[in-house]
Subunit: 293 residues, 4 copies
């Protein structure tokens, strides 16, 4: 299969490396070209533009930082959409707004191209291990064609629905649930600590009983160790995701008071701790607000 | 060992049955005596009063519905404390206020008796299976003496600290975290459903990725199936627990905005759905508030 | 009329002074006797106990710090209730729980005594000026008998209902509304200030348009000047009042999310600023949480 | 003075009528031309486009429904900016985003034109009475030139700062404070009503004491009478305004938990009651959530 890959940041590079040397024809592109070099050394073609990459490919993956960056790569004279052949597929791996997912679906349908939205769960280390969870929205037949490629970097695929943006909605729900779990632990730990119980005890009991899941083990350890820098996922990015959840909630007329607390705590955290702290540092804000530290 | 057991409600009976026929001398007591009969048939003595049961025992367990019921059984002329020998142990299994745990610790210390607070995680079916998680506060040497008895009905024991009420604090944190997980799923599912994605899909992705834990599987299924009656744990009991968390938070000067949302949603649920609905029905309230159903 | 007055703290003394030298027979009592001396010098009798004061009076006013202090003065061997004649009246001026209002109503009814709950709006300076607003619950005929006395220290009387505690409920609603107005100004001012607009401008526009009321003028000035010490009304007292509102809300099954925010902000303020700060300092907390100061 | 007026909706028409027959040269424009006819009959010129109106004027007022409508009228080939002479003034009366205020300021500065942002407080009946409050951001000298014109339809002018968008920020704060007052009354009234006290009593006490201001009298009457249709200001418009407050809060990193409650309650109200209800109907939602009605 001829595959294009646009966006070689931390996540993109970790995914794209699984596509090299597997018998596919790979063409990569990145805004700053130096990120493409390691792929060139391993035999990938380096495309001159998103359009160029798309023109060489049956399937083009995009992994961009946000909605604006993705649209910039897709649209315009040198964009992906201008190069992609009829019936070829654009697979967007980014966490984007539901509205953006719908917009891209319309654009590609209008061009006779196919579109799959496939945001992923997993930090860069999981991507490096080829063990991402892939949440897919789009035509199921198209997904079936892609399964062998998804298998190269993902360990599980969830098909949500025929509408591509349905996957974006579920991915946003997931990020909301992650930060909710962090807030929950943060509040419980602050209460325990001020009541004389080490916060590690709270985590031990939680993960030892009903809460034996990665989200509690991984983020719980960060809270127990107050380990928020360097940021694995910076608070302003978390705020951006929560804003996207909020936009979907507003469009769909759904009140989400937990989401409201999370947005307020992210704002507070950024205002007091700076823009470069991990989004899990809402736990630090909760602790400080209770007079700890 | 001579063991007393006070309180043979749904949870108490499920625990106490594991203490019969294991070579211990068991004396049981319940406010309404008919609940004691099955135990008498299996060889347990039926005590005339909490005081009587305590007088016959080295260790007395209590499993009462709330703080008031527990205090009524412990204090007074015919109470547990009046009958318990010096150095004998009272083990309270109930979910009670931190302040009540402290009060009982003081009372027993004043009497030269020992006190262990050991609230448990697990619904009645888990208790019936002898698989509860036991959260223990109190003297570690005393706990060591009790481990063989705890092993009869619990599969894990967590020692929190030397202060008995430390276990009550952690247990309350746990119940708070459970209801937080329910709220989180409820909000995510309402958003998904109004956005055209079945709520079962949200649960499938969550439990298939970072949220693979019993709290999500069990409560998630209730939310997906709208299964809130008969109540496994009624909303007013959940409200009582959240009030106890709130009291601890107020005493310790800890702001807990998630807790605030949970209390408000429980109140709303009880106001609109009645007193006999499961506490997980905050998910129903969230759905209805978004215009579903 | 023979009048008793129990509780000569800041508010009580400011009220009681208006009852001296107006042709009534006044008997005063205070837990620490020195507070009664200035009244003795002006001709009032100093009672030996609440019971003694009540025995000398047709009407006994109480102005105590909280529910516990009030109950301690009313009940017991030397309490007000033990001394008050049949058909004589107890007028409680304190801000107390609805449940306490009901409890006292039952007690006095059982004794054949009359009971009026009459909490007041106004800080000590307003009391000193004889300009309090009096919110009355109880029998309207009884209220009519008392109007000439109320007129000595109040400028307005609101009759809420025949049930004495109805006045307590409305008074608690009022205190909730005051703190809500403070929170509203605090959030608006923090937003304005971080956006480059002096907070005094926000207040000027508010009080110059739709918000031309004492609650905005008075508390607004405190927020603009960051004037929170010495406390006119300390944050822990405010927290106590909000807890009483919360108890009434829980009893009546009413979700009050604004109340939840206020409780959390009071807890945060006390945790970070100390117990001796004015309740309006939730405005300081809001500002600090946004990175100001 | 040669005056242009763009946007003759309910508010715009009510303002513009005060500019007719006062010795000024008035040119009006509205997207649907029939709204301009009554002004033509009274001697105003009807402009062919925003550009045409601007070309005939020293000062052009705009009163459009939202940010998008305003930008559409200002920008483009036939837009206001294309017609306005150097040094002529654009006065925007709409409630718009802070960011939009900044954008327009930049645009006009770039063109050598002057820009004043002057959102107003007051519903259409106040506008009809010529009694609006005008909140002004922009050059004070420019404001001084305009004062005689502002005096024709406003009774008070507040100058906020030299940056035009500073007025938009304060106007948004004001709308936030209005809805906060509604929520406060709604919660207090629901508590009172479920506690047996008519909600009118709460309002009587509030407006009779510390809350004697138009916002309580006017909105309080709506809540007491459950008068939410036809909408004076529809809930989706209120939601739009709260979204603009939220955007400013996010940009400035300010946590506003009251705002969060308001947004959630507006969403809930729209989801359950429909899009055509007044924004004050959050009071209805609060009541229903407590089981009333």
């Amino acid at each position: 299969m001829r595959i294009g890959f646009l966006g070689l940041g931390q996540m993109g590079a970790a995914i794209a490396q699984h596509l090299v040397g597997k018998g596919h024809d790979l063409a990569v592109w990145n805004r700053s070209a130096d990120k493409a070099r390691p792929f060139a050394e391993r035999g990938a073609a380096v495309a001159a533009s998103p359009r160029d990459a798309a023109a060489r490919s049956d399937v083009v993956f995009t992994m961009l930082a946000d909605d604006a960056a993705l649209k910039a790569v897709v649209m315009g004279k040198d964009g992906l959409a201008a190069g992609l052949a009829k019936n070829a597929v654009h697979v967007s791996l980014s966490t984007i707004a539901v509205a953006t997912g719908d917009e891209l679906a319309d654009l590609h349908a209008h061009n006779g191209q196919r579109f799959i939205s496939a945001p992923v769960f997993g930090r860069p280390d999981v991507a490096a291990a080829g063990a991402l969870s892939i949440v897919v929205g789009g035509d199921p037949a198209c997904l079936d064609e892609l399964r062998p490629v998804f298998a190269l970097f993902g360990k599980r695929v969830f098909h949500i629905g025929a509408r591509p943006s349905s996957a974006n909605l579920v991915k946003l729900c997931g990020n909301f649930a992650i930060l909710s779990a962090v807030e929950t632990m943060g509040e419980a730990m602050a209460l325990a600590e001020k009541g004389g119980v080490p916060k590690a005890k709270v985590l031990e009991v939680m993960t030892g009983t009903l809460f034996d899941a990665p989200v509690y083990r991984n983020y719980g350890a960060m809270l127990v160790e107050d380990r928020y820098r360097p940021a694995g996922f910076a608070a302003p990015l978390g705020l951006k995701d929560m804003r996207l959840v909020g936009q979907a909630a507003e469009t769909n007329r759904v009140a989400m008071p937990f989401l409201s607390v999370l947005r307020d705590h992210l704002l507070e955290t950024i205002a007091k701790e700076g823009e470069d702290i991990d989004w899990a540092a809402i736990g630090l804000t909760i602790a400080k607000n209770s007079g700890i530290g």
